[in-house]
Point group: C2
Chain length 382, copies 2
DNA sequence: ACGCTTTCTTCCTAGTGTGAAAAAAATGAG
DNA sequence: CTCATTTTTTTCACACTAGGAAGAAAGCGT
């Protein structure tokens, strides 16, 4: 439990900042609230809250919304957190294209743009962000960049498709250029964060999101934060040794994902029902299973494999909630029930399986939560 | 990421307390240090440090140790953290017996006692602790109780052997009786915490400790803290579905641990080398493998199974470091190398396998770190 | 002995949160 | 309509804290 406290824990200014932050955070949580509420939530005295609120209103963080709740006594002056006071940029690098969105702290997208990814990634990102925020630059609190498969130490692992060799320099470079905090992370991690703050996992502090696409990856949230592991490889569940005892060496793509990701399933579906490769192989398989016995059988196989995957994760980290994302979210209700049954039968702790609900928006919401928490660095209290 | 801030984040007194704590923590880390060091570490000014140190010396937390480091200028007055100023009690409930140790914050055991576990657990624990601390009661900062297999919500899972039905009430009851914070946790979790602060994982913030005994359990430390999962079942790796596709239902003991824990190995070792069941089956197996081909073969099997276990964990959480504890720590160097090779060949991220170093002391050190951090509740900053 | 350097201490000041009191803003009874 | 009542918001003086500056202390080298 290595703790270092190189910087001041409680200097004068720091303390003041902490106070401000606690008010801002409280306000961000509750949509509308009065000074009294604020005082209760933060534990500060009414006098202090008054002073702070005046300051924050002047700065545009809070807006006065007139009296509310007609009750006996002086009515409370309602305050509202101004979501536009804090903007974040969410940049998503997907193999051939880049998408950039500017959102306020509630997730409302203010501006967005998609384009082909040019040669110089850093240049493109900065240009996009600056262009999209425009005059609101002072409100920009942070930038989150989603990359397919990046590890903390900088090596890009599962992303041979992206043309960038070094991922870490991106974060630093952009940070230097834009002057706001930048975080770079795996897209699946961002999805997990997104579902946790604004999606199917908004009510829990632990979850595991399994994203099935060309590969299979997972994002892990424990105790309210995304956990990346020692070298950022947490959630590389595609490499789980579940398919018997194949003694293959590490080769960039995992045994498990080689057999049970979308590509493999699509092939099999085409074999079962010749024709063009379907847009959504899993949905197609669910459909076929209703009438075709072989399809039914194969679906059972897939569910069995995925159940094994979920079970493995549940035994190691006990997430309590498992969210299915990507192709796995295409399962119909019957299949989902079956999967839940398979899992429940063998887990040592209760584990619920749900579909992720945010879809493409998951990365955006994750990026927002990242950027906001990066913008508001918790004081490094030991 | 559910955050609630019901209590005061930065009231006046709280701020002062935080300051004090940061000094205490800094002092606890560095064994000997001067006021200047302290000022640098905490970021406080020299004036503030002087005042605080005077206070802490008066209270017995710090001791003055005369001048040190003869250098140009006035020599620094060295201070030393007084480990005796903070005592903790580590109670370990093992099936037929209870062991209780009083230790200072450095892990030095001041008093200890072992006895058979009587009928009333709470009574016994309180009596033991009170008796052992004696006059030092005011210095007692916390109590940590290690139970074989307890989950956060109170249900005892893997501990049919212990005669206690409810584990949670223990914590609360003892806390009420002794008036100090009490934490109750799985013994394997405590071992992991212990190895992380004072053992083989002292230099890292992420690790997984695998303890092989009658069952197989793991303790997970991510980002410097023990992670228990949603219902305290993280680390139940005995239930991993690695042994092919046995479709057994949940039955209190996992498929994997049924095949690869000490009991199973001991049986096989007896079969290979008839006689009494050896004290340390794994060590015995390592020995036999040097001369007997069947033993060699079986050892390979065991290592393969354990490698699969480690691999599964590595793929899910990427601990970076895996510590072997219990019977698994009895592997000789050759076997350990072999295991490391098996693991490295297939993990997506570098994963080192070591032996745990603290042995029986691991639980104690874990309990100390628990008790100390429970005694010093971090301010609930959102 | 005399500077010199570094550490520790003392004193004063600026700045902060809080409690109490005052002001403000509505309601409802007479 | 007026006035007591209730609740929220604001103001103000106070107690307290951290930090800066200056001074005292304690050794070292010449």
């Amino acid at each position: 439990m290595s703790d270092k406290a190189p910087t001041s824990p409680v200097s004068r200014e720091r303390s003041r900042e902490i106070k401000r932050l606690s008010v801002i955070l409280a306000a961000r949580q509750a949509r509308r609230l009065s000074r009294v509420d604020l005082a209760e939530m933060t534990g500060l005295s009414a006098a202090t809250v008054t002073a702070l609120v005046r300051e924050l209103v002047a700065e545009g963080y809070l807006i006065e919304r007139g009296p509310g709740a007609p009750t006996t006594g002086r009515p409370r002056e309602m305050l509202e957190f101004n979501p536009r006071a804090e903007l974040v940029a969410a940049v998503s690098l997907e193999p051939p294209r880049i998408s950039c969105e500017i959102a306020d702290s509630e997730g409302a997208v203010i501006a967005h743009r998609v384009a082909r990814l040019g040669a110089n990634v850093v240049e493109t990102v900065c240009e996009f962000v600056l262009d999209l925020v425009g005059d609101n630059l002072p409100s920009l609190r942070g930038v989150a960049i989603a990359v397919p498969g990046v590890s903390t130490n900088g090596a890009v692992r599962l992303a041979p498709s992206v043309g960038l060799v070094e991922a870490w320099p991106i974060g630093e470079s952009v940070q230097r250029r834009l002057g706001v905090p930048v975080v770079v992370d795996n897209d699946v991690n961002l999805m997990a964060a997104g579902e946790c703050v604004a999606g199917a996992g908004a009510d829990v502090a632990n979850l595991l999101l399994i994203h099935v696409a060309e590969g299979i990856g997972a994002g892990l949230v424990l105790d309210g934060k995304v956990r990346r592991g020692a070298s950022g490889a947490a959630g590389e569940v595609g490499f789980l040794p579940l398919g018997g005892t194949t003694e293959r060496r590490y080769s960039g793509v995992g045994d498990f994902e080689a057999r049970w990701s979308v590509n493999a399933i699509a092939e099999r579906v085409v074999a079962l029902n010749p024709g063009r490769r379907p847009e959504s192989p899993v949905r197609e398989l669910s459909r076929l299973a209703a009438t075709s016995a072989p399809a039914r059988e194969y679906l059972d196989e897939v569910l069995g494999a995925w159940a094994g995957l979920i079970l493995s994760c549940a035994c190691v980290v006990d997430p309590g909630l498992v969210l299915l994302s990507g192709a796995a979210a295409e399962l119909d209700d019957a299949a989902l029930d079956q999967l839940q049954t398979l899992v429940s039968a063998r887990t040592p702790a209760p584990t619920e399986v749900r579909r992720a609900t945010l879809g493409d928006q998951a990365v955006l919401h994750g990026a927002i939560s990242y950027a906001l928490s990066a913008a508001v660095p918790r004081p490094s209290l030991p």
